[in-house]
C-alpha cells in the first residue's frame, strides 16, 4: 500500500530543508580544519548570551539526541514490519510500516538542523575543546557526512518509492529499508565514537596526542554505548510511535479510526517492551566497561555524588515495566477468551512491585550525619541488604521474566491450541520459566556469599538463563499455537481510554529517562571535557546536582514534545490537503485474530 502523500509543497519544502541541512554540514567540513587552526588564537571559551554556553549545549544536544534516536530507532522496526507485511501478504503491516516511516520522515529535517546548530555551538563557544576533538576525529567527520548523505538519499527513496517499488519489486523496496538502517546505524556508531572518547579516551598518549585513530574510535565504552543506544533507540521509537497512536486514538471520530490507532499503539508498545527487556543487560555491559576503564569513574558513578541518580533511574524503569504490563493487561480485556488468564495478574503485579521496590532500594548514597544516625548507619540495617547488585540483578531478571509472561498470556488470550501435545508443551514452558526463575534467584542469593569479582560473573548466568528461557518458550509457543482455534476476534478500538494514557506515560517517562542517562554519561566526566585529558576550565566546570539537572531535563523534554506536536501537526496538514488522493484505502482492522 502506499501513495498516502502525493508530492506537494509541504513535502518539497521538507525535502529542501533536509538537503540544505546536509549540504550545510558537508560545506562546513573543509572549514573545520581552518577553524581548528584558528582556535589556537581564539579564547578557550565564549559565553552564550543569557543562559550560558553549557545550558545552550545541553539543551540542543539533548533535543538533537531525542530526534536522532527517534529517526534511527523507528526505521529499524518499520522495516521489520514491512517485511512481515511482504511475507504474509497482510496489507495492514505495510500500511503501518509506511505510517511509522512517515513519522520519522517528518522529524528528519529538524534532526539535521539541530545537529548543525550543535556544531556551531561547539565551534563558537568551546573553540579549544572543539579544536582538540577535530584534531583527533577529523577524518571521521567525512565518514559521518558521507553516511548522512547516503542515509538521506536511501530514506527518501524508501519513502517516496513505496508505490513505485511495490508488487514484484517489493524486495528492492525492503532492501532499501534495510540499507537505510545500515547507514543510520553507521551514523550512530561514528557519532558515538566522539561521545565515548570524551568519557573513556583511547588511542592517545599521556599528553593527549593522537597515536591511533582506530584506538580513539574503538575506545572502551564505544561498543557498549553502540549496543545500548541501538536498543534504546528502538524502545524510544516504539514509545513515541505508541504515544502518537494514543493521541490519534483519543481524538478519533470513528470506530474504524480508533481501531486502527489502537492497533498501532499496541504494536508501538510491543516493539518498546521487546527491546526494553534486553536494555538492562546492555546497561550492565556498559557499566562493567566503565569500571574496567577506570574504577574511580565507575565508583563515582555508582557510589559517589551520582548515586541518587540510580534510585531515580530505578523508579523510571519500574514505571516503564509496570506501565507496559498494565497496558497489556488492559489490552486483554478486548480479547474474548482472555478471562482464563486474569487470575495470574495479581501474582504478576506482586512480582513487579517487589522487583520495583528492590531495584529502587539504595545502598551507597551520600547521607548527612544526622540522617546516618537516624538510619543507624550508612545503609538501612534490614533493607540495606536489598540495595546491593545481587538483589537488583535478581529483581530485574524476575521483572523481565514476568513481563515476558504477560506478553505470552496476551499472545494466547484468544487462542486454544489444537496440537495433541498442547498440554505437555505448556507444562514444559512452565518448567522452563520455573527453572529460569530458580537459577536467577539461586545466583542472587549465592552472590551474597562470594567475592565481588565472582559475584559479577553470576549476572551472566542470570541473564543467559532469562534470555534462554525466553527463546525456548517462544520456540515451543510458535508451533503450539500455529493454526490454533480462535475464541473470538480482538475487538480493536474497544480498549479502555486510560490505556492510551499509559502509552503517553511510557513515552514521557522514557524520554525523561534518556535525558537523565545523558546527564549521567556526561556528568561522570566531572570537570573534564575529555576525561583525564582535556580539563574543563570554564566557569561551568562544576557538575550540577540532580535537582538542577532534573529541571533542565524537564524543560528540554517539554520543548521536545512541543516540537514533535508541531511536526506531526504539519504532517497532518499535508494529509488533510490530500483527502481522497490515496491510491489504496487504509486497511480495516476493527476485528482480527492478531
Amino acid at each position: 500500500m502506499g501513495g498516502l502523500e502525493a508530492p506537494g509543497s509541504v513535502t518539497l519544502r521538507r525535502y529542501a530543508l533536509a538537503v540544505l541541512a546536509v549540504a550545510a554540514l558537508t560545506l562546513l567540513l573543509p572549514a573545520l580544519s581552518a577553524v581548528a587552526q584558528e582556535a589556537g588564537k581564539a579564547p578557550d571559551y565564549r559565553a552564550f548570551p543569557l543562559i550560558g554556553s553549557r545550558l545552550a549545549v545541553w539543551a540542543i544536544a539533548q533535543l538533537h539526541l531525542n530526534f536522532a534516536a527517534f529517526i534511527l530507532g523507528v526505521p529499524i522496526f518499520a522495516v521489520i514490519i514491512e517485511i512481515m507485511g511482504w511475507r504474509t501478504g497482510e496489507q495492514r503491516y505495510d500500511w503501518l510500516s509506511h505510517e511509522f516511516v512517515k513519522l520519522t520522515f517528518a522529524a528528519f529535517s529538524i534532526t539535521a538542523l539541530l545537529g548543525a546548530f550543535l556544531l556551531f555551538l561547539f565551534i563558537g563557544y568551546y573553540p579549544k575543546f572543539w579544536a582538540y576533538m577535530t584534531g583527533i576525529f577529523y577524518p571521521t567527520f567525512w565518514v559521518y557526512a558521507t553516511l548522512f548523505f547516503l542515509e538521506t538519499f536511501a530514506v527518501y527513496l524508501w519513502y517516496y518509492g513505496w508505490d513505485w517499488l511495490s508488487g514484484p519489486r517489493k524486495w528492492i523496496h525492503v532492501a532499501l529499508g534495510v540499507v537505510s538502517n545500515l547507514f543510520g546505524t553507521g551514523i550512530l556508531f561514528v557519532s558515538n565514537a566522539w561521545v565515548t572518547f570524551m568519557v573513556s579516551p583511547g588511542g592517545i598518549d599521556e599528553a593527549g596526542t593522537l597515536k591511533s585513530l582506530w584506538g580513539a574510535i574503538a575506545n572502551p565504552t564505544w561498543m557498549p554505548i553502540n549496543i545500548h543506544r541501538l536498543i534504546a533507540n528502538i524502545v524510544f521509537g516504539g514509545t513515541i510511535a505508541g504515544a502518537y497512536a494514543a493521541v490519534r486514538f483519543l481524538s478519533a471520530k470513528t470506530d474504524e479510526e480508533r481501531a486502527r490507532y489502537d492497533w498501532m499503539g499496541y504494536v508501538g508498545n510491543f516493539v518498546a517492551i521487546s527491546a526494553l527487556m534486553v536494555l538492562p543487560f546492555a546497561g550492565y555491559y556498559l557499566g562493567r566497561e566503565i569500571y574496567a576503564f577506570n574504577q574511580t569513574m565507575g565508583i563515582t558513578m555508582m557510589g559517589g555524588f551520582m548515586s541518587w541518580l540510580w534510585v531515580i533511574q530505578a523508579i523510571l524503569i519500574g514505571v516503564l515495566f509496570i506501565g507496559s504490563n498494565y497496558y497489556l493487561w488492559l489490552g486483554m480485556e478486548r480479547i474474548p477468551g482472555s478471562e482464563r488468564y486474569r487470575r495470574y495478574i495479581p501474582y504478576m503485579i506482586m512480582i513487579l512491585a517487589a522487583g520495583f521496590i528492590v531495584w529502587a532500594t539504595p545502598r551507597s548514597i551520600p547521607l548527612t550525619p544526622s540522617e546516618a544516625r537516624v538510619m543507624g548507619g550508612t545503609h538501612h540495617p534490614v533493607l540495606g541488604v536489598l540495595g546491593v547488585m545481587s538483589a537488583k540483578n535478581t529483581a530485574v531478571n524476575l521483572m523481565i521474566l514476568t513481563t515476558f509472561l504477560s506478553y505470552l498470556l496476551y499472545r494466547r488470550a484468544n487462542k486454544v491450541s489444537v496440537r495433541p501435545w498442547a498440554g505437555k508443551g505448556m507444562a514444559v514452558q512452565w518448567v522452563i520459566l520455573g527453572i529460569a526463575a530458580t537459577v536467577v534467584t539461586f545466583y542472587g542469593v549465592y552472590g551474597y556469599f562470594v567475592e565481588s569479582i565472582v559475584r559479577i560473573g553470576f549476572s551472566v548466568y542470570q541473564v543467559l538463563s532469562v534470555l534462554g528461557a525466553i527463546a525456548l518458550v517462544m520456540a515451543i509457543d510458535i508451533p503450539l499455537f500455529k493454526g490454533a482455534r480462535s475464541t473470538g476476534t480482538i475487538r480493536w478500538g474497544t480498549i479502555a481510554p486510560r490505556s492510551q494514557y499509559v502509552l503517553i506515560l511510557l513515552a514521557v517517562t522514557f524520554t525523561w529517562l534518556m535525558g537523565l542517562m545523558g546527564f549521567a554519561r556526561s556528568g561522570i566526566r566531572q570537570h573534564w571535557h575529555v576525561y583525564g585529558v582535556v580539563r574543563d576550565t570554564s566557569p561551568d566546570a562544576w557538575t550540577p546536582a540532580l535537582g538542577y539537572a532534573a529541571n533542565m531535563i524537564t524543560i528540554v523534554t517539554v520543548v521536545f514534545f512541543l516540537l514533535v506536536l508541531f511536526i506531526f501537526w504539519l504532517g497532518s496538514l499535508a494529509e488533510k490537503g490530500k483527502a481522497g488522493a490515496h491510491e489504496t484505502p487504509v486497511p480495516v482492522i476493527a476485528a482480527s485474530d492478531r
Binding site: 565508583i299 531515580i312 548514597i365 565481588s452 566531572q526 576550565t537 562544576w542 532534573a550
Partner: protein, 282 residues
C-alpha cells in the same frame, strides 16, 4: 465543557514530568566541584600544616575515600588505619616513606593481598595531584600511626608533571577586593612594608618574604594571619609576637579585603605588583 484531547494529554505529561522533577529536587543535592590546586613548593610549612593539607586532599581532590577507609575494612582497598606504622614492614628493605610514595605513584608495584589492582596513579589524570599535593598526602598517610618525615625533595621531580593534561588549569579564587588598592595599604596605612617584602616592593628582612605567599599558603591562612597572627603560628626562623595584633581594628573592611586580594596576587617568580600586569589575568 469538553476539554480538547491535546490539553488533557499535555496536562498529564506535565504532571508525570513534574512528579519526577519534584522527586529529583527533594533528595540531597550534591554538586561536584572542580578541585583547587595546592602549592607548597619553596614555602615554609610545618608538619602539622602539611598533614592537615594532606588530609584535605585525602577527603577531596585525591578521591582516596572512594575506596579507602580509615578504621574500617573496605572491599575494594585496604583499611588505612595505622598505615604509617605498617608501611615500613610491607616490603623488605623499603622504608615507610618510600613504600607510601610508591603506593601513590606506582600503585601496581605492590598490591596488598586480597585486593584487586585497581588503584590509579594519583599524579596522573584524572586525579592529577601535583608534587606538593603528593608530598602533603604522603605526610598525612605517615601521620596515621607513624612519623612524619617526608620532605619535598623526597618526592620525585617528575611527580605531577602530567597532572595538568591537555587543557588543565587551576581554578582561580576570585576575591572582591582591589589588588592595586591593597598594594597601597601594604606600603602605606598597613605598614606591612616595614617588615615584609612583596615582590618588587619592600626589602625588609624582619618578617618572612611574602613574594610567593599566594603560592605557598591558602587564602584562609592569609586572612587569618592578618587578623589574628598569634593564632596562626610563627614561621620558622622568625621571632614570635612581632606582628601587630591590631589590624582588625585599624584597617577598614574594604582595606582588609583589598590587602588580601593584593597578597593573593603574589606567586613568586611570575608575580608582579598590580599595575605591572596581574598574573591572575594571564
Amino acid at each position: 465543557m469538553r476539554v480538547p484531547v491535546l490539553v488533557k494529554v499535555g496536562a498529564f505529561a506535565l504532571l508525570v514530568m513534574g512528579s519526577y522533577t519534584y522527586y529529583a529536587n527533594s533528595i540531597p543535592q550534591i554538586q561536584s566541584l572542580p578541585p583547587q590546586e595546592l602549592s607548597l613548593e619553596g614555602g615554609n610549612v610545618t608538619p602539622e600544616q602539611l598533614v592537615k593539607a594532606g588530609e584535605e586532599i585525602f577527603h577531596g581532590k585525591g578521591t582516596c575515600e572512594i575506596c579507602h577507609r580509615i578504621g574500617q575494612k573496605g572491599t575494594r582497598a585496604p583499611d588505612l588505619a595505622g598505615v604509617g606504622a605498617r608501611a615500613g614492614s610491607r616490603k623488605p628493605g623499603t622504608s615507610a616513606k618510600a613504600y607510601l610514595m610508591e603506593s601513590l605513584l606506582e600503585p601496581g608495584a605492590y598490591v596488598v593481598e586480597g585486593y584487586p589492582n585497581i588503584m590509579p596513579k594519583v599524579d596522573r589524570p584524572p586525579i592529577g595531584l601535583n608534587r606538593s599535593e603528593v608530598w602533603a598526602l604522603t605526610a598525612f598517610l605517615e601521620s596515621l600511626g607513624g612519623t612524619v618525615d617526608v620532605k619535598l625533595d623526597d618526592i620525585p621531580k617528575s611527580a605531577g608533571a602530567a597532572a595538568g593534561a591537555a587543557g588543565a588549569g587551576a581554578a582561580e579564587l576570585k576575591l572582591p577586593g582591589d589588588p592595586k588598592a591593597g598594594q597601597a595599604v601594604f606600603a602605606g596605612k598597613g605598614g606591612c612594608i616595614a617588615c615584609h617584602r612583596a615582590g618588587a616592593i619592600g626589602a625588609s628582612p624582619v618578617g618572612p618574604d611574602l613574594s610567593q605567599i599566594a603560592k605557598i599558603q591558602t587564602p584562609e591562612y592569609v586572612m587569618g594571619k592578618i587578623l589574628n597572627p598569634a593564632a596562626m603560628g610563627t614561621v620558622a626562623g622568625f621571632p614570635p609576637g612581632v606582628m601587630p595584633q591590631t589590624f582588625g581594628q585599624t584597617l577598614t573592611s574594604r582595606e582588609y579585603v583589598d590587602l588580601v586580594s593584593f597578597l593573593l596576587t603574589l606567586k613568586g617568580e611570575g608575580a608582579h605588583p598590580p599595575g605591572a600586569g596581574s598574573p591572575a589575568k594571564k
